[in-house]
Amino acid sequence: MDFLTIIQILDSTIRLATPLLLACLAGFFSERAGIFDIGLEGKMLIAAMFSAAVAYVTGSVWLGLLAGAASSVALAALHGLASITFRGNQLISGVAINFLAAGMTVVIAQDWFQLGGRTPSLFGGARFEPIILPFAEAVADVPFLGPIYAELLSGHSILVYVTFLLVPGTWWVIYRTRFGLRLRAVGENPAAVDTAGVSVVGLRYAAVAICGVLCGIAGAYLATALQAGFVKDMTAGRGFIALAALIFAKWRPWPAMWSCLLFGLLQAIALRYQNLDLGVFTVPVQAMDVLPYVLTVIILAGFVGKAIPPRAGGVPYVKER
């Protein structure tokens, strides 16, 4: 395949990887603090709905983003209430949140817009427009590097750049700051944090809140940057893929980025080459469609091996019974 095609595939990789990466980092914060979260999907979904709805009503995508994040944080808080304050089962809570979002988004959107759970299409200021990096046009014709800069790196929405900056950001926060140290500690052994005179509950709520914000951005990206409005169930399982990517990355920020990019790439390839014609026979669309998932399993079995989750992950912190 020619160079330009590669660029285009990578370009699409970045777009597909961005929401995954946001959700993945969201899960990263939550699970590093010992709170398992299979509710990423739901938080993304509700954020997508509210960001689109508010962006449409106010005509400002930023207000939309804000609303999306807020709604997602609200669900995160619910998850916190269940799993931190009331020491409930974190998995059930996650499942419930996914259901809740799937239902609520449509019920509310229908109640507001009577469009069967869709929001009206967004125009102009109600959407994130692509950003053309400086001199993108100028260098576009420079052989090799030109296209990479102009086609691949330039022309994404602000959220994409923010997301990829979040990776080093996350790394720095987790490994270079007091908050990060405590966050990791509370995910490994909350009793140690508690006896060190730091509030376990406080830390965990903070982590869950961050998770909510990031999921919120992810949802807003789907509905107001990639798309121009909310369509029911538009997250289409990306929350679960993000979770897979997180485990895949063994709960570390940089690997998280790479695994999300890998998932994005596999999807991009699958979308680009349906019905691969191998001369002898053509690979059916179904096969290409599941390629990402099959390869994930193979890679997982072949190269990644055991992934050890944070030790206190999933278990509520109880000192008295």
């Binding site: 270079r176 700051t177 007091r178 405590r182 500690a185 052994n189 009793a191 060190a196 005179g197 030790r311």
Partner: protein
């Protein structure tokens, strides 16, 4: 000294966990610059009381005075602020953090880590000088020995400028050498004018180092005496409520034919490190072979290999039949079938399933036993009945088969494991750290059981880091160091000093 305010004064402390009254109206006063011992049976309420003082649990009633001032301690933060530091029975360290990270955790200055760590490193060096508390600040906790881990806990407290230091069963996991070092450190701290509370099950330690000692029973403070004015026997009686034999009395062994025969046993772990290097040993019927050694010198591996769940090369014969050391047949079940019982070192991780009821734990490992099954189904009532009987005979408290293992005290947990393994009357009993964290009442009982089994003509391989225990129980003592057997001695013809040297790797000839 009389007119001086006590460093710590507790008045009428009470605490209940649900239905369990862990502490009942407890009052003590501890003078500054002294070491105060607290003893009591498992479950007496020692840890709870200290946890309250440290703000880990909240008391239901009672007052706390720190050097005269009434202080409320809602959480550990307040305790730290009041200059209290605590070394918990089950360490509260982050396993995969470095020593340094564990020490600064919660005591960082500033939002950034680098400066905090740098500062901690400096302070650490000073503390090391001051109390010769040696630890590598960059070592990962799970890769250093328990002794070192405990020093980290102490450093944590000192780093937070604690004047009052609480240690809950600190020597439970230490070798005599390590224990002695700990006591030197405590001595220093006392000289510095710091106040220390020491919870232990070992009267020797109480007599050795404390100034005053309190005895707890069933959640109540039954007595507080000056150490100089009491004796181990008296304390033991105060604690258990009856006379206790502190020495094991046993007749000389009549060794029979060889039961366990080990030749050239080697273990290499996945990192390629040699854990066992060509071990040869024999245990005869009717004798106890004691394996002494500092924790982490291959004793655990030896037990796991003999127990059937660690791969190895070499020869292991039980009653003359060769035991497979890898692949099929190399598992606990097949070992049991060939007459080997195993009381593992770590009752909470291996010996028991903490969430299982006592009766399920009694069946655990022997659940295939015909007596426990009716056709395809398990006969739970039979298991329960058997459990009640065993609890009766081993005087497990509370004698309630339905109670989850985690709700028994360490001593009673250990009794359950012993009951399960001993009552099988095996040809060979492997037993590791039989009395770790167990109160003297229970220790006496457990030791009697072991000796009784020997007298029935069974072979017993005993691994313990308690030299005292090794010397009083064993008929022969082998010392392990760095995966090798450094030498073998007869208890009658050796002493803690010589064994100590062997344990330190100074070879037999030199010693």
């Amino acid at each position: 000294m009389a007119n001086e305010a006590p460093a710590i004064e507790l008045k009428g402390i009470s605490k209940a966990f649900g239905p369990v009254q862990a502490n009942k109206d407890i009052s003590i006063r501890v003078m500054p610059g002294t070491i105060h011992g607290i003893i009591g049976e498992n479950g007496a309420g020692k840890s709870t009381l200290m946890s309250i003082l440290y703000g880990f649990y909240k008391a239901d009633a009672g007052e706390i005075f720190i050097s005269g001032q009434k202080t409320t301690i809602p959480d550990s933060q307040a305790a730290i602020a009041a200059g209290i530091g605590m070394v918990f029975q089950h360490f509260k360290l982050v396993e995969n953090f470095t020593v340094l990270e564990n020490i600064v955790l919660g005591a960082e200055d500033g939002g950034l880590l680098r400066p905090s760590l740098a500062k901690a490193r400096k302070t650490l060096e000073e503390l090391e000088q001051e109390y010769d508390l040696k630890v590598d600040p960059d070592a990962i906790i799970e890769q250093i020995g328990v002794g070192a881990q405990q020093r980290v806990e102490i450093l944590k407290a000192l780093y937070r400028q604690a004047n009052i230091l609480i240690l809950d069963e600190p020597t439970g996991v230490l070798t005599p050498a390590e224990a002695d070092q700990l006591f030197r450190i405590l001595g220093r701290l006392r000289e510095e004018g710091k106040t220390i509370i020491l919870i232990t099950h070992k009267l020797r330690e109480i007599m050795e180092i404390t100034d005053t000692v309190s005895v707890m029973r069933r959640g109540e403070m039954t007595a507080t005496v000056k150490t100089s004015e009491t004796s181990p026997e008296e304390l033991a009686e105060l604690m258990v409520g009856r006379k206790v034999l502190l020495q094991v009395d046993k007749t000389p062994a009549q060794p029979g034919d060889v039961i366990l025969d080990v030749k050239n046993l080697r273990v290499v772990d996945e990192m390629g490190v040699e854990r066992l290097r060509s071990i040869d040993l024999q245990v005869r019927a009717g004798e106890i072979l004691g394996i002494a050694g500092v924790a982490g010198n291959g004793q655990s591996e030896l037990l796991e290999v003999l127990g059937g769940y660690m791969d190895a090369t070499g020869e292991v014969r039980v009653n003359g039949t060769l035991m497979p050391l890898t692949g099929a047949g190399a598992d606990g079940r097949s070992r049991r079938e060939s007459g080997v019982s195993h009381v593992p070192e770590d009752r909470q991780r291996e010996g028991l399933i903490m969430d299982f009821a006592a009766w399920e734990n009694v069946a655990f490992g022997y659940h295939d036993d015909a007596a426990y099954n009716r056709g395809v189904l398990m006969d739970n009532s039979a298991v329960r009945a058997d459990t009640e009987a065993k609890m009766e005979r081993f005087d497990v408290r509370p004698p309630n088969p339905a109670l989850a293992a985690k709700n028994f005290s360490g001593g009673n947990q250990q009794k359950i494991v012993l009951a399960r393994e001993i009552e099988r009357n095996p040809d060979l009993l492997l037993i590791g750290q039989p009395t770790r964290g167990v109160d003297i009442g229970a220790i006496e009982f457990i030791h009697q059981q072991i000796v009784a089994l020997r007298d029935q003509g069974k072979a017993i391989l005993l691994v313990s880091v308690e030299l005292e225990e090794i010397l009083s129980l064993s008929d022969r003592v082998a010392v392990m160091f760095d995966g090798q057997i450094m030498g073998e001695r007869l208890p009658s013809q050796t002493d803690e000093k010589e064994l100590g040297l062997l344990m330190a790797g100074v070879s037999g000839e030199a010693a």
